[in-house]
């Protein structure tokens, strides 16, 4: 049985529903990321689990304990706020010691635990500093140490890297996962950044308008987005309206031509997702799933790769703009870089690049 069990959780602010009956299981020691755009309800989910907001409906269980009657300060959970919420009137030591003192620890034991926690987050020697003397990254670590110090049964992190700049964030997300795994804490991690979620999570729960639309491992979610929303949110924007005929369930008919699917799909209307990663072998070739013909509309050099936008003329007169990523070494291998803006090119498509997303297709991707 899962450690944290959330069933049918509902919450509205005024007439605005924020959580529409969401359910989630978190196993002991697991690190689950709630991923979604701002306003999707992920922070509210965290606050309800923490006990800071009353749910309108649904149940929350931790182990065998029903959390409904347990007030926030008795849940023995940890919560790290996006703005860290370090107590400005206390120094680093007293911030980290706060939860221990609330739990009634003896001062000698507090001292040992605080030292241990500061060592864990690489802040030895910072105990006497005021909060004002810390950099953003240091504050983040103090907040983490403070949350972890009382050994919470469940640690929740609300955009813990959200207020830091990009480079610092990329460094810290790896470090953060290492620390959480070292401690072995069960954790719920909220973020709107898919890279952060991929780097940190054991499992990802993608949230959209108060509902979980897909729950799975990072690799599974990225490989097979469940809905067009998930695909777009992960930055996979090459979506073309498609139909799978019942007589050929492994074929997708699109305005760009017919493509062979990696496996049989449920017949009907939907969107075909074409992944942007291009195998250099397939430039100018026919792929095993098919090919598209297009004109290079934009090309930008990004260092390790090129971003290419391909303008493809579809049946029915509509033009589609698809984005692809080509490794830079492509040019080195063939001597000269083969593509320029305006070049017409054939691009072979592989079956592992394709995912058919069922359901009504509002728009698809165009221009």
């Amino acid at each position: 049985m899962a450690l944290l069990r959330v069933r049918g959780l509902r919450k509205s602010f005024g007439s605005q529903p924020v959580l529409r009956g969401v359910s989630l299981d978190v196993e002991a020691g697991e690190l689950v990321c709630l991923l979604g755009p701002s306003g999707c309800g992920k922070t509210t989910f965290l606050r309800v689990v923490a006990g800071l907001e009353e749910p309108d409906g649904g149940t929350l269980h931790f182990g065998s304990q029903d959390l409904a009657q347990v007030p926030v300060h008795r849940r023995r959970f940890g919560l790290m706020f996006q703005d860290f919420a370090l107590f400005p009137h206390l120094n680093v030591y007293d911030n980290v010691a706060y939860g221990l003192r609330m739990a009634g620890w003896k001062e000698a034991a507090v001292r040992g635990r605080v030292a241990e926690m500061l060592a864990l987050v690489n802040l030895e020697g910072y105990a006497g500093r005021t909060v004002f003397e810390l950099s953003g990254g240091e504050r983040q670590r103090v907040a983490l140490a403070r949350s972890l110090a009382p050994s919470p049964r469940l640690l929740m992190l609300d955009e813990p890297l959200g207020s830091l700049d990009r480079t610092l964030r990329e460094r810290l997300m790896v470090e953060l996962r290492a620390i959480l795994k070292e401690v072995g804490v069960t954790a719920l991690y909220v973020t709107h950044d898919q890279q952060e979620a991929f780097a940190v999570a054991d499992r990802i729960a993608v949230m959209h308008r108060g509902e979980f639309v897909q729950i799975g491992t990072p690799e599974a979610v990225y490989a097979r987005p469940a809905t067009p929303f998930v695909a777009r949110f992960l930055g996979l924007n090459n979506l073309v309206p498609a139909r799978v005929p019942s007589e050929h369930p492994r074929q997708a008919l699109t305005p760009l031509g017919t493509f062979r699917l990696p496996e049989s799909a449920h017949p009907g209307e939907g969107l075909l997702l074409i992944r942007p990663e291009v195998d250099p072998e397939h430039l100018g070739q026919e792929g095993e799933a098919g090919a598209i013909w297009g004109r290079v509309a934009a090309l930008s050099f990004r260092g390790s790769d090129y971003h290419m936008e391909l303008e493809v003329h579809g049946e029915g007169g509509q033009d589609y703009r698809l984005a692809f990523i080509l490794p830079t070494h492509l040019g080195r291998r063939g001597g000269a870089w083969p593509l320029q803006v305006g070049t017409r090119v054939r691009l072979g498509i592989h079956t592992d690049q394709l995912v058919f997303l069922e359901g009504p297709t509002p728009g698809g991707t165009a221009g």
């Binding site: 300060h73 706020f81 609330m102 009382p150």
Partner: protein, 553 residues
């Protein structure tokens, strides 16, 4: 580098000259009279004063009543501050403005209003007598310390709501929530997080209230009767009733030293009370009350607070129409136009309205002119002179009005009876408010706007006219209204300086209160009601044009 036009230096010089002539020179005169009453340096006068028990009684009363007032004000104001900081409810801006209403009320109006509410023929006494069929008024607060404390609380609750409330509103609610998640129950959240964080702003607000009550004059003079005297009242008595100038001068000196000490303490704490930006919530945290308990707290607190803040003022207006036995009457308003005594010194009360308006208009013009010049001087970027002068321009705020008036009397020699002294004193008292209203707007003015206008071909004068003036307009309106209402209500200095034949409204009210008879009391009520209406209109204008950045005080 742009050179400053020599004429501008002259403009900068004017407020400094004004300050020297109408602030430092009178204080120097007080100092001289205190230490050298007959031209020779001597300490005997001071030694005599210090040895009199009266001196210590006055000092003791001044201090403890100020402390008690500050304490009671905090008790009354903190719950309201909490409600305004953390809850959203209909009519909030209006209600917040109402809490400041007493603060802009002239002291005479407040004193008169309290007599109209709890005085012998006050509204509460009439109701209680009618309700329980009592032969005599049951509330006998007039002339006791209780009515003084009550009036002081009434006056200053708005200060606490504003100062502590705005700090509280900017306190990140995540801090309390973090404490909750870490295992702190509600009581411990308050004692370990919220309360320690509120202490600096609460102490600062308490100290400010203490300062205001320490120099309280009109309230104590009118409501306290002969038994109670603050330093301020005693200075007035010694100077005017007993004409004991050296004693008055020494008391003024003690008063100045103590108020400056409190001011210095206040500024230090105030600086600590400002929360760094990173500990403020990104969005506003006030929300509508949700549970029943919250609704009860908010509505109960607001009703009680409003009743307390509006009751005296409503009682004043009501009694001005219903005093006596003839029911609703306009008699007392009509009386304002009549000169009952026909004496050369007693003008019809209505002329006092004209006098007050005339003086206030003068103060607005002079105050805006000098205030603008000072603000430009103080807003000069990276100017060491400006940094040095900044606190100097605030000094009049820490000097009591009676002391100032007394200083003019002893310093101005042959001009001591000049009609000009009253507007000068008012301008000086209003100056810190005018400067503080203009300064943030001026500092916030992006210098690149002026540069852009200049590059686009505007001459310096046109730059000022097309960039500075429109952008400073609302701040200037706020400053002007401050000057106007302060002048209209100013009592302490005016009482000492105004000529009998040129009284202002507060002075006429005070005189009418001091004379026996229902008719005189009715006139005081009527005149106070008029003054109250003007002051209330003033706060409406201020609230309308006040930018959030303007409230630097």
């Amino acid at each position: 580098m742009r050179r400053t036009h020599p004429l501008l230096y002259l403009l900068y010089l004017l407020p400094l000259l004004f300050l020297a002539a109408f602030y430092f020179y009178p204080l120097l005169a007080i100092f001289r009279i205190s230490f050298a009453p007959e031209g020779r340096w001597t300490l005997t006068g001071i030694a005599e004063t210090v040895q009199r028990p009266l001196f210590w009684q006055v000092l003791w009363f001044t201090t403890w009543q100020a402390a008690a007032s500050a304490g009671l004000t905090l008790v009354a104001g903190l719950p309201l501050a909490y409600i305004f900081a953390r809850y959203e409810f209909p009519g909030k801006p209006l209600l917040r403005a109402l809490t400041t209403l007493p603060f802009v009320m002239p002291t005479v109006v407040v004193a008169t209003a309290f007599t109209a509410l709890v005085g012998p023929s006050g509204l509460l006494n009439i109701w209680l007598q009618a309700l329980f069929d009592l032969p005599r008024p049951p509330l006998r607060l007039l002339g006791t310390v209780w009515i003084i404390l009550l009036a002081h609380v009434f006056y200053n609750v708005g200060v606490v709501v504003r100062l502590v409330g705005s700090f509280w509103a900017h306190l990140n609610p995540h801090l309390e929530e973090a404490a909750a998640v870490l295992g702190a129950d509600p009581a411990r959240r308050w004692w370990t997080v919220t309360f320690p964080l509120l202490v600096p702003s609460t102490v600062a607000a308490g100290l400010l209230v203490f300062l205001f009550c320490f120099t309280s004059f009109g309230v104590v003079l009118i409501l306290g009767g002969l038994r109670y005297a603050t330093l301020e009242v005693e200075i007035y008595r010694q100077a005017v009733s007993l004409f004991n100038l050296p004693v008055a001068a020494f008391l003024s000196l003690v008063q100045i030293l103590l108020t400056f000490a409190i001011m210095a303490l206040y500024t230090r704490i105030q600086r600590r009370a400002s929360l760094p930006l990173e500990f403020r919530p990104a969005q506003g945290v006030a929300r509508a009350p949700r549970q029943r308990g919250e609704w009860l707290l908010v509505s109960g607190g607001l009703v009680a607070g409003l009743a307390f803040l509006l009751a005296p003022l409503l009682a004043l207006a009501w009694r001005s129409f219903t005093l006596g036995d003839q029911g609703f009457t306009l008699q007392y308003y009509r009386e304002l136009a009549v000169n009952r005594y026909g004496s050369a010194f007693f003008v019809p009360p209505m002329t006092a309205v004209g006098n007050s308006l005339l003086v206030a208009a003068g103060v607005v013009v002079l105050g805006l002119f000098l205030g603008t010049a000072s603000a430009y001087l103080l807003a000069r970027p990276r100017s060491r002179l400006a940094a040095l002068l900044d606190p100097v321009f605030l000094l009049p705020l820490g000097t009591s009005a009676v002391t100032l008036g007394f200083g003019y009397i002893v310093a101005m020699g042959p001009w001591r009876a000049s009609l000009w002294l009253v507007p000068m004193a008012h301008t000086l008292i209003a100056a810190p408010f005018v400067v503080r209203a203009l300064l943030p707007a001026l500092r916030g003015l992006d210098p690149r706007l002026r540069e852009a206008a200049a590059v686009l071909g505007a001459s310096p004068a046109r730059v000022w006219w097309t960039v500075d003036v429109p952008l400073l307009r609302s701040a200037a309106i706020v400053a002007a209204v401050f000057a106007f209402t302060i002048s209209l209500g100013e009592f302490g200095a005016t009482l000492l300086l105004s000529r009998p034949d040129f009284p202002t409204m507060p002075v006429v009210i005070y005189r009418a209160l001091g004379q026996p008879g229902l008719l005189n009391y009715g006139k005081a009520l009527a005149m106070s009601t008029l003054l109250m209406a003007v002051a209330a209109a003033g706060i409406v204008v201020i609230e309308r044009f006040r930018l959030d950045a303007v409230s630097e005080l």
